[in-house]
Amino acid sequence: MSSVRVLVGTKKGGFVLTSDGKRQKWEVTGPHFAGWEIYHMKGSPVDPNRIYASQTSGWFGQVVQRSLNGGKTWETMGNKFLYEGEVGNHLFYDGTQRPWEFKRVWHFEPSITDPDTVYAGIEDASLFKSTDGGQNWTEMPALRSTKGELWQPGAGGMCLHTILLDRKNPERMYTAISAAGAFRTDNGGESWKPITKGLKSPYELPDPNAEVGHCVHRIAMHPSRPDVLFMQKHWDVMRSDDAGDSWHEVSGNLPSDFGFPIDVHAHEPETIYVVPIKSDSEHYPPEGKLRVYRSKTGGNEWEPLTKGLPQSDCYVNILRDAMAVDQLDKCGVYFGTTGGQVYASNDSGDTWSPIVRDLPGVLSVEVQTLA
């Protein structure tokens, strides 16, 4: 019988939540790496018991952990993230140029074909790759050459938070960087192009043709349709049907089109999920009601999903890496909040229940569907 394993990164440790295919009773283990910020944990699609974890601390810096047994035990891997060649500068808040400086790993994306290959999205924004299971890391420097001197940090830092691998075209990848934009490579990372045509950020970027500087919060795709992308931008929910060459808005009837995560149903490529947040200055759900919104039409027409979610006095946020879907039928949907709750739906979002209510603030949620 199938089972699921939910990997939860929090501000004070990592947690592993497991259940059988019914997804009604859960076993919780953790905290792993107690007291450290666990920005992200993700398992290899090729070898699901191989899990990478980003363990960080303002005191002690970055540690990379790897488990080979599904999170039961961990080993410390390499944490040397050195920019290639001349480090160069990026734009800073005050308009001056600042040299790139490594701060932390925001996101690990294990390869879909090789268990020893894993990508890391880091702050200050760049993309790194390991081909030896996380022991040694090499920058893919062409990305920072894509107008990197114009990138500047957003409020959360200049982080590369989204890495999407194209299952149909191994040479194609997408990345997204907060306050810098979205980028695509068609040659395995040798060169990149900004994919921001159609994005509108009139207050931050008066130039409608600006290629970089858009605050992209998250991009999602369905693996069967890698040319169709869905984006939660700082404001606006966007869609591309041409691999990011152009975007159009699909915010439709959402109560707010500000938010962080976005994800796609495992079996219905036109069904997508967002969690609207009131505004950029009030990072909590509109009206104190925690509502996931689902569109079954690829955007524009949205329905609120509220059963089992708090509908009064709820003022949590859901961060960009804190939503995931499993592969079971019916599709499971999961998200974690800054208030420490992890909610799960085992029926594609129709109903929800908390797996845990009192974890530290949740930074990331990933789910593995196990045979």
Binding site: W59, F60, G61, V63
Partner: protein, 98 residues
């Protein structure tokens, strides 16, 4: 034998309990002690000082014999009680909460 006390998170990371005892060849300085420490516990590389510049991380402090040695030259000889093993070299996470 040089005695080193690590903060709790780094003891956990290095999988050690209590003090670490190190053989340090040559002059006993911050640099030579940290070199020996990282050589024996490579998982600590980058957690106390920068990989490349070897500068102390911002919220790490070094103490010995009731003295704050955080901003001393990494090549200064450490106090004699540290060198002869009667006092430990303390690596401390700075009080910088919030």
């Amino acid at each position: 034998m040089i005695r080193v006390v690590l903060p709790v998170h780094l003891r956990t990371l290095a999988k050690v309990n209590g003090e670490v005892r190190l053989d340090v060849s040559g002059p006993v300085t911050q640099r030579s002690v940290l070199d020996a420490l990282e050589s024996r516990y490579p998982m600590l590389e980058g957690t106390i000082r920068d990989h490349q510049t070897k500068k102390r991380r911002a919220f790490i402090r070094f103490f010995a014999c009731q003295e704050d040695l955080s901003n001393a030259s990494p090549d200064d000889r450490l106090p004699e009680p540290v060198v002869n093993g009667t006092e430990p070299f303390l690596i401390v996470g700075a009080m910088a909460g919030g």
